[in-house]
């Protein structure tokens, strides 16, 4: 793993604390994500990883602290505005539009940057035609990219778990994100499929997208990330290159256990 | 605006409001229960109520009592009330069961979308209500005066009568019983589980159909009792009154937080009060307006009602 290509920060999580009643889900969490890298976010169950995503994408407001994306504060922004700024995500518990086809799911993503207004749609002004055509091409390309092109017109509801996960990725990519946040994208994949996913994530990065990855499968995490941040009980306990983190005794004790699986 | 009227009669508006509210609350329970479990606005619940109310009147008619009869003697009054209450509860629970069997269960079997349920509910409601209308030739039926509305005693100068005591008392007792049943019993736990995730509940060994039936029976009996109390208080029943009353009761359920049993009580009483105060302040014609205005305003500030949802999940 060579070092991070640029040191231009894309996302800064600045001493973020988030409480739910008595539960402190995030406790002064502090890390920075640089443009073009793949950052792994790992930690035991309930450590606060998903909560961190939720704070970034505007679902929760941090109790304390700040999150900055491309230099702008996230707090107070609407969710769809955050998406337009270039942050996209997938969900740990899949959240597709079940009664829309795979294609349409992705088209909703592409629409994030489309400008067709109610008026131009109503009268089918030229912009409508142009954007529809471009979106459709892009959507098909993305479905091809994640490997479910064949299920173009299938309702999302009818896809299997794994296919749904792929569709989530395609839909997120359709919003043209600068930062793609993947919450356990490999859950429910077998090792061979994980291997494919690993390739996919690399390709995504190669198209210039920065990736933040939550994942429990250490082989995948080790294989693809440039850097890793480790949370436990809402606190950051380690940060560094994959190899460093893997050998960090704190991480082993809290998370990895006997390191036979991680080999 | 007539503040004078409102303040000088504040006590009476309060007591009558609470009494009316108690009836709303009892009916609201049926909406809340069914909604909690099936996510369905059971529009036909108003007819479940009407069935009980008619059953009570017809029971009295069966004993030879019509609206001009006078009944005296606490013993016979209690007897008539009790018998009619039982008949009303059975009639309502029976109607509810039939509706569930005929209108909703087939849809569940077919995995129908939620809106389809809503429409059958509306259809069933219209059909049953019309059937009652045709049967009674769209005329009101009078109930005998069983309980006098002469004041029994005064609290702070506000007269309290036996009908008010009876209504509020029965409503409270029924409500507490239902609350205990849902929150403490095993079947109650099953009800809550089906409310949240029916498929998984089946995987835990819960018989969904049976739970749903129980829910309809419980809600139905409450509505039946409400029907009887309505008869005692208003003394006249027309087939068409269910619609608006049902709507109000559902409003009460939503005000309190739908799916929340205690919310139904709070919502019902609140609605009764507001209606009466508004009648005093603006005139009786604004009563329903006030009820709905309250709903709109309250939901703006508390989108899931006063006490929030509880039987089912709060929607994510």
């Amino acid at each position: 793993m060579e070092a991070v290509p640029t040191r231009e920060p894309l996302l800064e999580v600045d001493k973020v604390t988030l409480r739910f009643g008595g539960v402190v889900a995030l406790n002064e969490v502090d890390f920075t994500l640089y443009k073009g890298e793949i950052l792994g976010l790992i930690g035991p169950n309930g450590a606060g990883k998903t909560t961190c995503f939720n704070a970034m994408t505007g679902i929760y407001q941090p109790t304390e602290g700040q999150i900055r994306f491309r230099g702008q504060k996230i707090s107070g922004k609407k969710r769809h505005q955050i998406t337009k700024m270039g942050m996209a995500r997938t969900f740990q518990n899949i959240r597709l539009f079940p009664e829309m086809t795979a294609l349409e799911n992705v088209l909703v993503g592409t629409d994030a940057h489309n400008k067709t207004s109610v008026i131009s749609a109503l009268f089918r002004l030229p912009r409508y035609w142009k954007e529809e055509r471009e979106s459709r091409e892009k959507a098909e390309r993305l479905l091809e990219f994640v490997g479910i092109r064949g299920r173009l017109h299938e309702f999302a509801r009818n896809l299997s778990y794994g296919e749904q996960r792929r569709l989530e990725i395609a839909r997120a990519l359709a919003t043209d994100p600068a930062l793609l946040c993947l919450d356990e994208p490999a859950a429910g994949f077998n090792p061979a499929e994980k291997e494919e996913l690993l390739q996919l994530i690399r390709q995504i990065r190669d198209t210039g997208v920065t990736v933040l990855l939550i994942e429990h499968d250490m082989r995948l995490v080790m294989g693809v990330t440039d850097r890793i941040v480790v949370l436990e009980f809402g606190k950051k306990i380690a940060e560094g290159l994959p190899a460093e983190v893997r050998d960090n005794p704190k991480v082993i004790a809290a998370y990895l256990g006997v390191p036979d699986d991680a080999a | 605006m007539n503040f004078d009227d409102l303040f000088s009669n504040f006590g009476t508006y309060t007591t009558t409001g609470l009494t009316q509210g108690a009836i709303y609350a009892l009916v609201a329970l049926g909406y809340t229960l069914v909604y909690g479990v099936l996510r369905l606005i059971n529009f036909a619940h108003s007819e479940v109520f009407i069935a009980g109310a008619f059953a009570a009147i017809w029971t009295w008619n069966g004993f030879g009592l019509d609206q001009n009869s006078q009944v005296s003697g606490i013993g016979s009054i209690m007897f008539y009330l009790l018998v009619a209450m039982i008949v009303a509860a059975i009639a309502s629970a029976g109607t509810a069961t039939v509706i569930e069997r005929v209108a909703y269960r087939p849809l569940r079997r077919r995995n129908a979308p939620p809106l389809a349920f809503l429409i059958t509910a509306i259809g069933a409601s219209i059909a049953i209500s019309e059937a009652f209308g045709i049967w009674t030739r769209r005329r009101p039926e009078g109930a005998p005066i069983l309980v006098s509305q002469d004041p029994l005693f005064h609290i702070f100068g506000v007269p309290i009568d036996a009908v008010q005591l009876l209504t509020l008392g029965s409503a409270l007792v029924m409500m507490i019983a239902l609350d205990l049943f849902i929150n403490r019993s095993r079947v109650g736990r099953g009800i809550r589980a089906v409310a949240q995730d029916a498929n998984t509940a089946a995987l835990m060994g819960v018989n969904k159909d049976r739970i749903i039936l129980i829910v309809f029976i419980a809600g139905g009996s409450m509505a039946g009792v409400a029907g009887l109390l309505y008869d005692v208080r208003i003394q006249t029943l027309t087939y068409s009154v269910g619609f608006l009353l049902g709507l109000k009761a559902f409003t009460a359920a939503v005000l309190g937080g739908i799916g929340n049993l205690r919310g139904a009580l709070v919502g019902g009483l609140l609605l009764g009060l507001i209606e009466n105060y508004a009648s005093g302040l603006f005139g009786s014609q604004w009563k329903d307006f006030a009820a709905f205005a309250l709903l709109v305003v309250l939901l703006m500030f508390r989108p899931t009602g006063l006490l929030g949802e509880s039987l089912g999940r709060a929607r994510a």
Binding site: R79, E104, A112, H153 | G123, A131, T251, M300
Partner: protein
């Protein structure tokens, strides 16, 4: 029973397949034929040959006018309920706003005494209903699902009570002498008179065609996708960059505008408008119509709105064993709703989306196996 149903279903699907498979010009020809049929329908010279279709107990042209208004309303409500998934139980309230706007601006019984011509009042009615849609939507569209349903229902009821009880809206006393749409025959007789309902029907029919084209354009675009994604999963839609609130408001406003237009057309024909024209039951009937026809599908909504309105009127003048069935119309209506939903829970003509699904499945099979 199931066998028969199965057959009916496959027959209908086959018809659907054939429709989609047919060449473009065939489809256009058929469509034009259907439209021509409906333009011809209210002429006695034509409908007298249609067997049991004309209503025996009421003027068929009048009935067709009512039906057309319901169709227009169903098309509008379908945007809100079928596409955006916002359960609106008080849709008729917007119809009332449209009708009252026209009444207040044009009728001599109005306090305003503006006495505008009808045509001038129509855009104002549409604009005002849109505004009222936005005004109702802004505070309430945060609410989800059934809460919204009840709030909209409450809103419609508030409008009705307001109309009954306010001096300005004249209650049951109502507004009379509302002018008709403009236009004259060569001989100077007004085109839109009191007695002949045909011109009104033709007008509404034309409006329906225009509105349907507009709605179709919307739903086949970014706007329509946004609506459907909101219906499917609002949170996820937001996170995919859909400004959900804005699009919900648009859905509400578009639906309201159509209802307002319908109300204006109604007032222009009716001459007299009072609070009894706006019973709550109407809202429910229209919702039932949309779902009965197939929510989320424009053709479904049209068929639903038409059938439901027609069905209710059709009972007039039929006698069975000495009783006029008209009195039982709502009993039957209720029963039909229940039975229909049990046998076709997805509506008469469900979602086009399902059709697309089947089509591409067919392709898959030929490729894969």
């Amino acid at each position: 029973m199931t066998n028969v149903l199965e057959k009916v279903r496959s027959g209908r699907e086959a018809a659907g397949e054939r429709w989609r498979g047919a060449p473009r010009w065939v489809r256009w020809a058929l469509l034009i034929a259907v439209i021509a049929f409906f333009y011809a329908l209210p002429n006695k010279e034509f409908y007298q040959y249609l067997g049991p279709i004309p209503t025996p107990g009421a003027n068929f042209t009048q009935v067709m006018f009512t039906v057309s208004i319901y169709v227009l309303l169903a098309v509008g409500l379908n945007i809100v309920v079928g596409f955006a998934g916002l359960l609106d139980l008080g849709y008729f309230g917007f119809f009332a706003v449209g009708a009252y706007t026209v009444a207040v601006l044009t009728s001599p019984s109005s306090d305003l005494k503006t006495l505008w011509p009808w045509l001038l009042a129509v855009p104002v009615a549409i604009a005002l209903t849109m505004v009222s849609g936005v005004m109702l939507g802004t505070p309430t569209l945060r609410l989800r699902g059934d809460y919204l349903a009840l709030v909209t229902l409450g809103f419609a009821e508030m409008i009705r009570i307001g109309a009954v009880s306010s001096e300005f809206l004249k209650g049951q006393r109502g507004f009379n002498q509302i002018p008709h749409p403009p236009g004259e025959y060569a001989d100077g007789k007004p085109f839109f008179g009191v007695l002949d309902a045909r011109p009104y029907y033709w007008l509404v029919l034309t409006v329906i065609i225009l509105v349907v084209i507009g709605v179709r354009n919307l739903t086949h675009s970014r706007v329509g996708r946004a609506w459907i994604s909101i219906r499917e999963d609002e949170d996820a839609a937001q996170l995919m960059g859909v400004p959900t609130f804005k699009f919900k408001l648009w859905a509400f406003a578009a639906g309201a505008a159509i209802a307002g237009l319908a109300g204006a057309l109604f007032a222009g024909k009716q001459n007299f408008v009072n609070s009894q024209n706006f019973e709550l039951l109407n809202s429910i009937i229209i919702l039932a119509a949309v779902i009965f026809g197939g929510s989320g599908n424009i053709v479904g909504a049209i068929v639903g709105g038409g059938l439901v309105a027609y069905m209710i009127e059709r009972f007039r003048g039929i006698e069975l064993l000495g009783v006029e069935l008209y009195e039982y119309r709502f009993l039957f209506f209720g029963l039909v709703l229940v039975v229909m939903m049990i046998f076709r829970p997805e509506g008469l003509i469900p979602n086009r989306r399902r059709a697309a699904e089947f089509k591409d499945r067919r392709k898959e099979v030929t490729v894969g196996e």
